[in-house]
Amino acid sequence: MTVLDHRDQADPDLVPGWLPGATAPRTDPAPLLPDAEPLRVLGTPAADKADPGLLRELYRRLVAGRRYNQQATTLTKQGRLAVYPASTGQEACQIAAALALREDDWLFPSYRDTLAVVARGVDPLQALTLLRGNAHTGYDPRATRTAPLCTPLATQVPHAVGLAHAARLAGDDTVALALLGDGGTSEGDFHEGLNFAAVLHAPVVFLVQNNGYAISVPLTRQSAAPTLAHKAVGYGMPGRLVDGNDAAAVHQVLTEAVERARNGGGPTLVEALTYRVEAHTNADDATRYRQADEVAAWQAHDPIRLLADALRERDLLDDQLVAEAAEEAEALAARMRAEFHADPDLDPMSLFAHVYAEPTQQLREQAAQLAAELAAEAEVHTR
């Protein structure tokens, strides 16, 4: 089992002009957390013990998720999506984590977490609305217990804490799961959120997908902590480290954290070690800041391959499952193409509809102005 750790490879004296060097997965669990029984699923063959049905479901979903990432990226190149932050290589973290939730739990995703959102049951096409650019949020957060994709980094963290706190006040056993990236752990909201969670003993779980980079900035420049999971210690909650490319391990660690929260055990911080195989988004040029061999090393530790190997070892991966998973993935990609190659129905008046419960007098006037402009335009076109 392998772990990303830039720190071992970083130039010890960060001289001016220092640039991140090539890094690769290494075989060594990260340092111990000061915890009585640190749960480091790294190196633990979680898939050996996992339920066969779960493993097969994870496999189908990961294969579909990979295809979804590819298709969405292609759609950006065709101008059909405004932008897409691919989670290629991170499918296991996102999907296995979301599957650890109960239907009435809540997910607080970041912009990269469309696969987690889809795994919650949100329609895969609606999950892309923000990135297509016709509306801000394409699904009903309350109906799906999934907060809008969050772009301002780490701002969703205290939201998850507050929701979990409110659920506990109401006597519900609902749990909130907040997703964020390694870069997001530097923001103040992350720290404030964790502190609140621990003080309030809120039923919330934080999953940091440490994919090695925040756009161009490698982890070594982001944090000097031994691991990001260590940050839990200072707030008084358990920190867990897991191989984020091992779907069964992620599912196990998240399930334990979620159940702990549900049973009154308070919050947990989980760091999942993974890798952002693609550029930050389609608009980014990753060759400016990382080497191809680093990417290749991580591709050898691919979450789908790891899962397939584990399934094969237990004789759970038959040709039928492989074929079905591939078929489902292709059907999903075809649905995406059909939907996104057509132009969406756009409603300019929607811009005024939801600013307030009741539009102000000024907004009503502005809406009328736009309506009049559009009517005049339509008249010119029909003439």
Binding site: W18, L19, G183, G188, I215, R221, Q222, V355
Partner: protein
């Protein structure tokens, strides 16, 4: 105030992004106390490549990839400035500067005042701002009014390639903090400019186009739209002047009043929402100072009072030529 030494680059054709990059490089060459810090400003050169090559030339100590925390970036810049450095901070996008507002409003803007002039903070905060680039939410805010409403901050925004260079050099040289707003949608427009030409110190508006009928007053991202509108207005029989404010703070009231008094009609144009926007201040001030010269109320053409729209709908929000001409038509022209 450090002196702005101009390298003799000579006349060239380039984009606003390149001019900003050149300004940073020249400022860093001229003054070792100038330090750049922000997210992705190193190897990547910033998401808009404004800091491209700076780490390679000056090293990571002078152009620093920081951890991802805007309050931390600006707060650290305050301390650096207290120790004698001249930090230039990059905020990645308009809406991602908001975590830094605490540092900006409570410290950067006030430190000179709080210390009776003993501790000025020569910090430049560069903010790519505004829409029109097809960005998803939080990537297109026109946030100038928040800054302009905060005493102690200069608020500067270029609309031309030459000004991008000149105003950024002047901003970095200023001993007061400057919020330097870079209109993203003008980053890639090319024109001819000469770094050696220099600009006036910040606080001087410039007439981009003379005219005899009325004046369009604008700045930054809306300036080219106003020039386009002035061109289109000729067909309607109007000869429109266009005034580029270049900075909201200081507001060049003398120049604006002079133009408004001579023409008697004015429209203020910006893409930020209208309510409580810069245009409201400008229109009120011009009305107070030029009332007896006005043939019509000073009108505003602004974005609607709504959160910035998703990219497919943003063109409905942004002031365009038609909306500007509609406003000009309402300037009470007698038959």
């Amino acid at each position: 105030m450090t002196t702005v030494t101009r390298e003799q680059h000579g006349l060239r054709t380039g984009t606003m992004a390149q001019a900003l990059n050149t300004a940073l490089r020249d400022a860093m060459r001229a003054d070792a106390s100038v330090h750049v810090l922000g997210e992705d400003v190193g190897a990547l050169g910033g998401v808009f490549r404004i800091t491209d090559g700076l780490t390679a030339e000056f090293g990571a100590d002078r152009c620093l990839d920081t951890p991802l925390a805007e309050a931390g970036i600006l707060g650290t810049a305050v301390g650096m400035a207290m120790y004698g450095l001249r930090p230039v901070v990059e905020m990645q996008f308009d809406a991602f500067a908001y975590p830094a507002l605490e540092q900006l409003f409570s410290h950067v803007a006030k430190m000179r005042n709080r210390t009776a002039g003993k501790l000025p903070l020569p910090i430049t905060v560069r903010v790519p701002y505004g829409g029109g680039i097809g960005g998803v939410e939080h990537h297109s805010d026109a946030s100038e009014a928040y800054y302009a409403h905060t005493p102690g901050l200069h608020v500067v925004t270029p609309a031309t390639v030459a000004d991008a260079y000149g105003l950024l050099r002047e901003s970095i040289a200023s001993d007061d903090p400057v919020v330097f707003l870079e209109p993203k949608r003008l980053y890639w427009g090319k024109s001819e400019w000469d770094p050696a030409a220099g600009v006036e110190p910040i606080g001087k508006a410039v007439l981009r186009r003379p005219g005899t009928s009325a004046v369009l007053i604008s700045y930054g991202p809306s300036l080219p739209v106003c020039l386009e509108a002035a061109e289109a207005a000729k067909a309607e029989g109007w000869d429109l002047a266009v005034l580029d404010l270049r900075s909201l703070v200081p507001f060049d009231e003398a120049t604006a009043c002079e133009v408004v008094r001579s023409l008697g009609r004015a429209v203020v144009v910006h893409e930020a929402t209208g309510f409580g926007g810069a245009g409201a201040e400008i229109a009120a001030r011009l009305t107070e100072k030029c009332f007896h010269h006005l043939a019509a109320p000073v009108l505003r053409v602004t974005g609607f009072d709504i959160p910035y729209p998703p990219p497919m709908l943003e063109h409905h929000h942004l002031p365009g030529v038609d909306r500007i001409l509609d406003a000009v038509a309402r300037l009470q022209w007698e038959e």
